[in-house]
Symmetry: C2
Amino acid sequence: MKVGFIGLGIMGQPMSQRLLQAGFHLTVYNRTAKKAEKVLTSGAKWVDSPAVVAAASDIVIMMLPDTPEVEAVLFGKNGVSAGLSAGKIVVDMSTISPEATVQFAARLREQNCEMLDAPVSGGENGAMAGTLTIMVGGDEKTFQKCLPLFQAMGKNIAHLGANGNGQRTKLVNQMICALHILAMSEGLHLAEALELNSEKVLQVVSSGAAGSWMLNHLAPRILQNDFTPGFMIKLQQKDLRLANELIKTLGENFPGTALTYSLFTKAAESGLGEQGTQGLIKLFRNQYNQFDGKSFAPRKPT
Amino acid sequence: MKVGFIGLGIMGQPMSQRLLQAGFHLTVYNRTAKKAEKVLTSGAKWVDSPAVVAAASDIVIMMLPDTPEVEAVLFGKNGVSAGLSAGKIVVDMSTISPEATVQFAARLREQNCEMLDAPVSGGENGAMAGTLTIMVGGDEKTFQKCLPLFQAMGKNIAHLGANGNGQRTKLVNQMICALHILAMSEGLHLAEALELNSEKVLQVVSSGAAGSWMLNHLAPRILQNDFTPGFMIKLQQKDLRLANELIKTLGENFPGTALTYSLFTKAAESGLGEQGTQGLIKLFRNQYNQFDGKSFAPRKPT
């Protein structure tokens, strides 16, 4: 099975490495060629456009930042669509608009090609370890064909129905993550503001009904003042934008999701976009401190 | 060591049973005498007022609904205070105002008695299993003296500093819990509204970065339409009121906590107060349904 991979960013690089390690032959393309160096060293083959990737592959995987990039790579000049022939499969592992996903899949079906939406959760560490959660929407037979690829990259792989349902599930995942990050930020900052022992509070709180993956994995980083990104604030903000767009189509109120969207937007606009999502706490710490977007001066006792 | 126990509600009953099982002699009082029947059968001794409990005990434990009840039991007519003598210890395991806690401890210290604030997390199941999380504020030596009692009732026991810090930590715990319940409610309701397979979504989402104790323990109850209380909405709402009062003294913004307080208040006012906290999802489901506070008519596909 010949596999193509387009998009070799923070996630795409380790994901394609996992595929190479599993023995798949990989043809790759990336807008910035330099980012392909490592996977080329590992045995991937470089070509000069998405169209050539599609021509050379049975299954084309994309891992791109947002809806416009996916649309351009699929249907732009020298795009995937131009290199496809009947029976080929496109797997979009980016997190993008569910509605656009459904439209893209329909357009590819006119070329007798199936598309799967297969966004992931688990961040760079999960991608490197091959333990990603993969949420798949699309045709069942196509899902089965692609399963060996998913198994090389992920651990918890779920088929959730028709095209778009992978993206919809991912947005449910992201709105929950965002509220958990808010809970962590407000909880840890309240502990700080009350001059409690934050480490002890975290230990006792995370062991019970208030426990979460975020408290276990990101809260210790906050206590160490480590704001390097596992997942960037600007990407979390993008996912919340997609979630809010989806919610608008329902005409319902999701006030927690609306709140996290406004707070992550504020954080991104404050210069925190490239930091890890745990950096959201700086919005709260900053209520008492001069804010420079990078460092944190401990709050003075009142 | 003679132990007194005042407050034999949903939590107090199993907690006092654990103490009896661990071999402590228990003298008990409860406003509603009937609720004491089970612990009396298990060997506890009934007396007619908090004052007599205090006179008969070295350590007096209280497990009461809110600040006014604790104040009345301590300092009201025939209250604990009237039965204390120097060297006795009061352990308040209720969740109440941290500021009031500090005042109560100071008043008892005038009688040469130490008080600990030791609120718990883990609900009725945790109380029955003796696996409560116990967050303790107060004098270190007094904490050490009471540790065997805590070990009979709980598993994760933390001493967090001076009086009030147990309550403060509990409120941090409760604000995090409330935001996790909101995340669960919005996430599961979005899955329902999008007509996704809620069980599959829950399985895939809870296994990754969106994972939480709430998703593991309460979300399956929602999917089974089980709204019996592990912890009641009206008590969660009370804890959020205490958290918001505490936050007001800081002059800072905690918008997530403010939001959950308003939503839990809305839920309590809608007749959901006696239901489990997972019942918060009904606020969201009700956006499309006639609301009777009890049942849920599945949303019609659009």
